[in-house]
Structures are given as C-alpha cells and as structure tokens.
C-alpha cells in the first residue's frame, strides 16, 4: 500500500506536506519541469500593496553552503497579482497561499482586503520577516507586541486562514510564535532568511547592493531545525518548517522535530525539480520504513 502523505493545515487539505517557499518558485517558469498538481501547496512570492522595484544589484552572493539574497520584495503589487497571476494559477488543483508584506499595519490589512475579494486562494501568509526591506517587514517579526498587534488585526478581517512567517533574527522565536498563536494565527511558518553580509576584499565593497542580505540554503539548516523544534514544542497550531531543505532527508529532519509540513526555497533555484524529488524521496523513505501516514513521523523525535 502506498503511504498516505496528505496533511491538513488550518483546514487546507494538502496531498503531501511539501510546498514551495515564497520567492523561490515561479509556477509559470517551472511548468516545463514540475507538474504543479503534485505539489502540497504553492506559496507565491510576497506581494505588497504597490509594486516594488526591489533593491539595487548585485542581489545574490554565494557563501559557504548558502546564498545571500537582497531581492527586496520586487513584485508588481497585489492588484496586478490578482488580475494577472491568480486566474492562471487557479487552473491547477493545488492550494495557493499568498504571502503578503507591508511597511505598515494598514498596508498589510489593505492587501488582505483585496485578497478577500478573490476566490482562488487557500490561505494568507503574513511575511513579517523579510530582512531586505528598509521599512516594515522584519520589524513586525522581531517585536512580540508588533507581531501580536498585526496578527490580531489581520485575523479579524481575513476571509482565509492566516499563516504567519517568522523571522529567525530574534532571541526567542518560540515566544514570537506563542504570541502570534494567541493572536489568532492558524499556522506559523519558519524560518525566513538570517541577516548576513559578505565583503569583497579586492574592492572593499559589500557583494550585495543592499549591503546586507538574507542567508538561506544548507548553511542555515541546523539553525532552522532547532527553531522549528523550539516552536513546535510551544504552540499547538501547525508549524511549517523550512531552511536549507535540499532533499528528502532534510525534510524528514523537520518533520521529526515537529513540522507538519515543509517548504523548499533555495533548492528550487538550483534544481527546478527539487520539490518533486523531495516528495518522492519522502514517499520512498516511508515505504522502506513501513510508515503509512505523516502522523507517524511528525514530532516523533526520540529524546
């Protein structure tokens, strides 16, 4: 018998627990490589109220086992997203999670109001953890009061389940998670990138136009696994784990420490088929080990 990989997160039924991380997967561009209907869910690139040009280049720098990015939430704005991307996306049988970002509480709420008018989406993910924007973004993710305030207000108006994406750039991520849960979040996803920097010793200049950037990839995996573990112990809402997942084994680490689902980011940039390979890898592992449901793995770390 085939193992059953399905999970349910905040009322959303997913065929499997593997989704794409915001900002790292282009559904249209990856169509030649990935059958979208096979994904657990699709988290789209963070949308903001108005279009954003993003940060000055260079925007990427490879570091040991990691990538620094300073994209700066380049996106065409929520209206263009709703008009041009959403209808196309809705042809697929896959939950669409819309990541939203803003500089003020009002901006976040306005975006949610726009999204409330649509039918095609399954959940909203509040990105309160983008390290690459000057205003807003991470500001809401590192202060428990700000995180609570935004979550309460967003939850009040959102027609859709509300996920909150947490920042790892904090002293105690489980505290923020707890606060966000108490404020009404239906799920938390973590981690976003860790603020980092690299300098060219030939030119004396930072490699990134934005000076600092967000670190992702295998380098941060041990930190992400630890944070997911801390959060999963403390909250009851589902935890979506991410950070350096390149293969099925990496994903399984996150499940064991308590992630109900995972998201794949940087791996997509390297290997367009990464998500599919991870899904089949998890299935293979479960078959070999004789597991039938995700529930037999999630949170089953032996301490």
């Amino acid at each position: 018998m085939e193992p059953d990989l399905s999970v349910e997160i905040s009322g959303i039924k997913m065929k499997n627990p593997v989704m794409t991380a915001s900002g790292t997967f282009g559904p249209k561009e990856y169509l030649p490589f990935v059958e979208l209907n096979r994904l657990g869910a699709l988290v789209v690139k963070t949308v903001t109220l108005k279009s954003r040009p993003g940060n000055p280049p260079p925007r990427l720098r490879e570091t040991p086992c990691g990538v620094l990015n300073s994209i700066g939430l380049q996106n065409p704005g929520v209206k263009v997203f709703i008009k041009e991307d959403l209808p196309w996306l809705s042809q697929f049988d896959v939950p669409i999670i819309v990541s939203v970002g803003g500089e003020t509480v009002e901006e976040y709420l306005k975006i949610i109001e726009f999204l409330n008018e649509t039918k095609e989406i399954s959940a909203v993910e509040l990105n309160i953890s983008c390290p690459n924007v000057k205003k807003g973004g991470i500001f809401f993710g590192v202060d428990p009061d700000e995180a609570a305030n935004l979550t309460v207000k967003a939850k009040k108006i959102s027609r859709f389940p509300l996920w909150v994406k947490l920042s790892p750039n904090v002293t105690d991520i489980s505290l923020i998670a707890k606060v966000v849960e108490e404020s009404g979040a239906d799920a938390v996803s973590l981690i976003n990138t860790i603020v980092g920097m690299a300098v060219d010793v030939k030119t004396f200049k930072p490699y990134l136009g934005g000076i600092t950037g967000g670190l992702s990839g295998p380098a941060i995996k041990p930190i992400a696994v630890r944070m997911v573990w801390e959060v999963a112990k403390r909250v009851k809402i589902p935890v979506i784990g991410m950070g350096g997942i390149m293969n099925a084994h990496d994903a399984l680490e996150f499940f064991l420490v308590g992630a109900k689902a995972v998201a794949v980011g940087t791996a997509n940039l390297v290997n367009p088929k990464a998500v599919l390979e991870i899904i089949s890898g998890i299935k293979k592992y479960m078959k070999e080990k004789g597991f039938k449901r995700m529930g037999e793995i999630v949170g089953k770390i032996i301490i």
Binding site: G54, P57, L60, E62, P272
Partner: protein, 261 residues
Amino acid sequence: MKKGDNLIFNLSVEVISNQMIASEVFKIKFFSKEIASVAKPGQFIHLKLDYEDILLRRPFSFYRAEKETFELLFQIVGKGTAFLSKLKPKEKVDVLGPLGNCFSLPNNISRILLVAGGIGIAPLRFLAEVAKKKGIESYLLYGTCSSNKIVDLADFKALTKEAFILTEDGSFGEKAMVTDLLQKFAHEVAPDYAYACGPRLMLKEVVKILISLNIKVEIALEEVLGCGLGVCHGCVCQTTKGYQTVCRDGPVFEGKSIIWE
C-alpha cells in the same frame, strides 16, 4: 535582441572534449541533440557543478552549437570554473538551458561589427558563424590583455571579413584597448549593427562610442545568477524600463537601454 526559443531542457549531458586553448581559458564540448539544435547566439546554459560547497549553477554562453554538440569557452576565475576545467570526456554534467534571449540579426542588414573583450569573445563566435550562414559579413574587434589569452585566431579569421586583434601589453597586434580603436574601426567598417561582450566598464564605453556614431549596438551582460529562469529576480540590471533580469530579459540588451551606475 530577440526572445530565445521557449524550449528549455534540464538534462545530464556528456563531456566530449575539454582542452585548454589559451592561458587559463578552456573549450569544453558537450553532447546534446536537444540543446544543440535550439541554442541561439547570445543564449546561455546553466551548469550544476557538484564540487565542494558550490550551490548555485554557473552560466556560460554558447560558443558553438551544431547538430548534436555544443561548446563553451570559459576562463578560470574561481572554484566552479576550476572544477569545470578538470572535467574529462564521458563525465556528465547537469545542464539547464538554453536560457535567455539572443542577439537579433535583422533581415535587412549585411555587415555587422563584433566587439569582444577577453572571454567576452564567447557568444560572439557563435553569432559570427550564424551571420556568415545568412550571408552577413562580420568585422571583429577583439582585445585581450596579452597574446596568451587569444583564442581560435584562425577560426575567427575564417568566420569574419576582417578580424582586428589587440592586446593591452602589445604582445600581439596593436598595443591598445578595444575602446581606444573602436571609434576609428567602427567608422571604417560602417556596420549596420554592432554586438559587444566583455567587461562591464568596456561595455559602458563601447555603447557610448557606438551611440555617438549612431550605430545600433546589442550587448551581452553578466550578473551573478540564481535560478536562470527569471524567477528569483536575483540577476537584475538597471535599464530604461526599470530593473530587468539578465537571465531572462537578457543577457542580450540594447546598448542604449542600460543605465550604467
């Protein structure tokens, strides 16, 4: 510049040959019908190199493509290219491509000017070959720092109507930079169209000179790439239309559209 073909492959392809053809410069040949048959001059291929802690793919322009094989020309600048230089025939590499747009060769033109700085020669060779097949005459202005960096001289002489070679140290041809002689050369050749590839500072200068001569120029740009597919927005450059991706909107841009910092 033109949109490239939409067909993009992600394949594991075999190395046919790999040889050093100038100081720290290598020519590597791969077998792939699929890719060779659709690759266009200016487009690139994105290589996954399983070496040390390399994470991101590395992009290289097509230097040649015919029937079942394609070739790249590369210079060793870091660990990815160092690893690439050690690949042996029969070894396999995961490739993604062809990617990006390509140089345009409008129908009404009959002579073009190619301006290459160093390893920037790579995409221009392929262009010269395609131009020749179309009956378009190419004139090449090609500068390197020294004679030991010059590649495939005979080949270029055969492909072009005239190939003008310079070195910065004067060890071959005139002792000059491409930008020193471009004005004169372009004036003499009076091309319908120009194409340039090379270091950023050179390109900036080349575009300025050619625009002043009223010659349309397309340039192939480089940036650090992530996905290569236009998804991550990691590779943008500033243009008159705002930030555009080098991997998808480019790597070929109209010279006049770039806003140099």
